[in-house]
Amino acid sequence: MKKVALCLLFLGYFISVSAQFQWVEIGISGLTCSACSRSVEMSLRKVTFIDSIHMNLENTNAKVFFKNDSIVEIEKIAQAVIDAGFSVSYLKAGFIFNNVSISNNYCFSFENNNYQFLVSDSKTLNGKIIVRFIGDKYLSKKELRPWKSKMNKACVSDKTKKKSVYYITL
């Protein structure tokens, strides 16, 4: 169980709650052959915090599970797919929230990374929630286009500007 600080970040102020990364599902585009899927899996296997990979050869997606007590860096998962020579069509993660009320541009820090919610409605998240990652490494250019104007760096402050921000949605 990973206990982390889940922090509300407005001008550098944080609120701590508990959360947990469960798994990541990643859609891989640009391939059709099982040898290509194998290359992707072998590339993913190099990522230190990944424990196991379930590759769906027919649908060309992979479900990735993590080692206990490891820090998950989502960008490294996407980069492993790119290093194998393919692209990510979607990346979603199973996340456990503990009564967190979110709204658009809600910011939090988790395992040394900053996250910003892009949502239309306010909600309270409790239990297992699937979040989708938004960014040029996690979506095709076409899929990313409608999100670009919403990626407003609301979570970037003087204290956090050196860290990248993961944009996520429900």
């Binding site: 585009s29 640009g30 052959c33 099982s34 040898a35 194998r38 290359s39 590339s43 020579g85």
Partner: protein, 325 residues
């Protein structure tokens, strides 16, 4: 008849929508690359019969993915295609009055030659564009090739890696859509000259320079997965069928002896063009070990650098570095 069959096969490929596409072409490189940090090894061998003599070229290719976009290859080859020296009687002469007129005439073929190390061929491929979608992509890559092979090649057509030194470059466009893959490779070859010796009928060794023709290359490859229809395991043996067309247009060679250019009177050393067709089959074991088999046949004109049928066999395997990053 042969050409009709091939055209029907192409139409079948294009209209086929229930088959998976494959771009792991035996002969031509696709625009896709070797995964970053992965080492590949390929053993290659091609064989044809030149009259009563079996000609063979064999080699080993080492491949590496420097980045996800840049792959480099080094190939080391040997063959019995040519002798240590250029053919005897390469240059003949006739007398016109008091004048002696020298010319390059058709020389004897089908002579057994020893197996010689040809040299090294380096190749780099850089993917410049990628438009990836679910089971679809359009990719464009640039390639460059350099060869230090220097054997007594005696035809105008340059063949980097097999027969001639020099360099080449080109563009690869690979398109995968609705279960159909097609790849077009187009480029050029600037061959280096061969500096060697040709013996006269009297046994006199004459220093000879042979400049090969510059070439424009154009290849078209297509392929599809025959088995399995649906993937369920890496252990399923993949059977892929391919049809590849390899073509070249090349300029005339130039032969020099004792500082003088000798007129050429043999089609072997004159400008030409041709397209070969290579139907092929590929087996992939454990989603890694590749066995490629293909047979080259003349489609339009024919090459003088090899006879037909031109058989090709290759075995390839990737070695993944399991080291955690």
């Amino acid at each position: 008849m042969m050409r009709k069959l091939i055209i029907i096969s192409i139409c079948f490929f294009i209209t086929s929508s229930s088959l998976q596409a494959q771009e792991l072409f035996p002969l031509c490189e696709p625009a896709s690359n070797i995964p970053k940090g992965v080492l590949g090894l390929r053993a290659i061998s091609n064989t044809y019969k030149e009259y009563d003599v079996w000609r063979n070229m064999s080699g080993v290719r080492v491949m590496y993915g420097l980045t996800s976009r840049l792959s480099i290859f080094a190939s080391f080859t040997g063959s019995n295609h040519h002798g240590i020296d250029l053919p005897t009687n390469l240059v003949n002469h006739t007398h016109l009055g008091n004048q002696t007129l020298y010319f390059v005439s058709p020389f004897q073929r089908g002579i057994p030659y020893p197996y010689l190390f040809n040299g090294t061929d380096l190749y780099a491929k850089f993917r410049v564009l990628s438009f990836d979608g679910i089971k679809t992509h359009l990719r464009v890559a640039l390639y460059g090739e350099w060869s230090n092979v220097s054997v007594a090649h005696d035809e105008a057509e340059p063949n980097l890696m097999d027969d001639t030194k020099g360099y080449g470059s080109g563009l690869i466009v690979t398109y995968l859509k609705n279960h159909f893959a097609i790849s077009l490779t187009s480029g050029f070859i600037i061959p280096g000259a061969y500096l060697g010796t040709s013996f006269s009928p009297y046994g006199q060794a004459i220093p000879t320079t042979l400049e090969y023709g510059k070439a424009f290359t154009y290849n078209l490859s297509m392929g599809y997965l025959l088995y399995p229809k649906h993937y369920s395991s890496y252990k399923q043996v993949n059977v892929n069928l391919y049809t590849e067309f390899t073509g070249k247009t090349y300029g005339s060679a130039a032969v020099y002896q004792l500082g003088a250019e000798i007129p050429i009177q043999t089609p072997l050393l004159q400008a030409g063009n041709y397209v070969d067709v290579h139907p092929g089959i590929q087996f992939i074991f454990n989603s890694n070990l590749r066995l490629d088999l293909s047979v080259g046949l003349p489609f339009i004109q024919q090459s003088y650098t090899h006879f037909y049928p031109f058989t090709y066999i290759a075995v390839q395997r990737y070695f993944y570095n399991p080291k955690k990053q």
